[in-house]
């Protein structure tokens, strides 16, 4: 790969890869390391990829495997699949949607189970399809569907909860805004 091609690849993918890494590793330093490591692995092994359309999927897969490898050195991943709720929570109320920024989203992701953060991050990053998520995370399609489902449910709960709390903080006595102004 020519130097320019490598740079084009980095320019195109470093941001989504970093965001995915951050959603997994939770610290900027670890996310940057994982992203760098992914491109270093690419530089060594890119000749193995014959189908250039698979580059994006390969990069995300490699990053995720590196993350798991590092994680497993520290502790064995224990996967517990919680039961699906009887009724899925409704989408986040529209009045909150325009207030969602990356800070709120990342803090909600941060509180979620690790095994749900990965599919959810991929879903929202560059519109990765459930089939690609299945390939990247090396999970059966059915598992990806159910994890996405649970992940969205968890995320909805957390976002709605955060905004409800902030509503309470804004109006601690449950009075109206005109009450507060007076």
């Amino acid at each position: 790969m020519k130097a320019n091609e490598f740079q084009l690849l980095v320019d195109e993918y470093y941001e989504p890869l970093y965001r995915f890494a951050f959603s997994l590793a939770k610290t900027p330093e670890d996310a940057a390391d994982l992203t760098q490591q992914t491109f270093a692995t690419w530089a060594k092994k890119q000749h193995q990829i014959r189908d250039r359309k698979k580059v994006k999927s390969w990069l995300f897969t490699t990053l995720y495997r590196d993350f798991l490898g590092q994680k497993q050195k520290k502790q064995r991943l224990v996967m517990e699949e919680p039961e699906l709720p009887d009724r899925l929570p409704d989408p986040v109320p529209e009045k909150y949607l325009h207030q969602i920024d990356s800070k709120i989203l990342l803090s909600c992701l941060d509180e979620m189970d690790e095994n749900y953060r990965a599919p959810l991050s991929l879903f929202y990053l560059e519109d990765v399809s459930y089939r690609d998520i299945s390939e990247i995370l090396d999970l059966p399609i059915g598992t990806v569907m159910s994890r996405l489902n649970r992940a969205k449910a968890q995320l909805r709960d957390r976002i709605t909860e955060k905004f409800k709390k902030s509503d309470l903080i804004s109006f601690p006595n449950l009075g109206t805004s005109s009450d507060q102004n007076e």
Partner: protein, 249 residues
């Protein structure tokens, strides 16, 4: 398919993309078509996805991360033959270059006569063969100069002022026909890396007099050569000649 199952299935649905063609979603979408309550739910879910996707993709990534990745890449393997498709021609070139290395580059023994052309061909041989690992990594030019001086490599040379726009990432000392040569790695403003080789001018038997910069292009590599009263320089980059020439304007 009940409403719960429709919602679960459509959790993985991406509005506006090619998912409607996916058989997995078709039954659920058909149910939505028939049910106003599900239609309202789906509309909310689409708005939610859009808001979350927007928020997610606005989370900041470090601006200097690409630079770190490039530097790491260049440090690991700078300007090497990358593609298996080029293997055949690369092997032929490599045979010639290795021969050139054996002829011109010896670590032991007294320094022998070296012409400017031999110096240039030897530096190309180093680049093409990937023998360009950096011995000392630092973006601080003064630190690099100290390291080169400690390593008995040529110092005291001066690069054109225009080089200040390039970032130096490391350096090495190499020998060509037992003459010490300083090699400094720079990132060009447009992105690619360039290696500058500097040798004392009096080490060369036929050095051209100080004057203009001479450019060459050889395959993927371009070079710029020049000299001043004391030193002879060659800059080589795996980049178009224009990228290199930009440094001298």
């Amino acid at each position: 398919m009940n409403k719960q199952l429709v919602k679960e299935t459509l959790s993985a649905f991406r509005h506006g993309l090619d998912d409607p063609e996916d058989p997995v979603f078709q039954e659920a979408l058909a149910e939505v078509e028939k049910d106003p309550e599900l239609q309202k739910w789906q509309q909310q879910a689409i708005l939610e996805d859009q808001a979350l996707r927007r928020a997610f993709n606005r989370s900041p990534a470090p601006k200097d991360l690409p630079e770190k990745i490039y530097a790491q890449h260049q440090s690991a393997k700078i300007l090497s033959f990358p593609s298996h498709k080029q293997t055949f021609s690369a092997v032929a070139v490599a045979v010639i270059l290795v021969a050139a290395l054996f002829i011109f580059i010896k670590v032991d023994g007294p320094a022998s006569s070296l012409t400017a052309e031999e110096f240039v061909s030897s530096t190309f041989a180093l680049e093409s063969g990937g023998h360009t690992d950096l011995d000392f990594i630092s973006s601080d030019l003064d630190e690099k100069i100290r390291w080169l001086a400690d390593s008995n490599a040529p110092t005291g040379w001066e690069l054109p002022e225009s080089f200040q726009v390039a970032v130096a990432s490391g350096c090495s000392k190499v020998h060509i026909k037992n003459h010490p040569v300083s090699m400094v790695c720079y990132r060009l403003p447009e992105g690619p890396m360039a290696h500058i080789y500097v040798i004392k001018r009096d080490a060369l038997s036929q050095a051209t007099p100080p004057g203009e910069v001479h450019y060459d292009q050889s395959g993927d590599f371009s070079s710029a050569r020049w000299c001043d009263g004391k030193f002879y320089y060659i800059a080589i980059a795996q980049a178009p000649r224009e990228s290199l020439a930009g440094l001298f304007e």
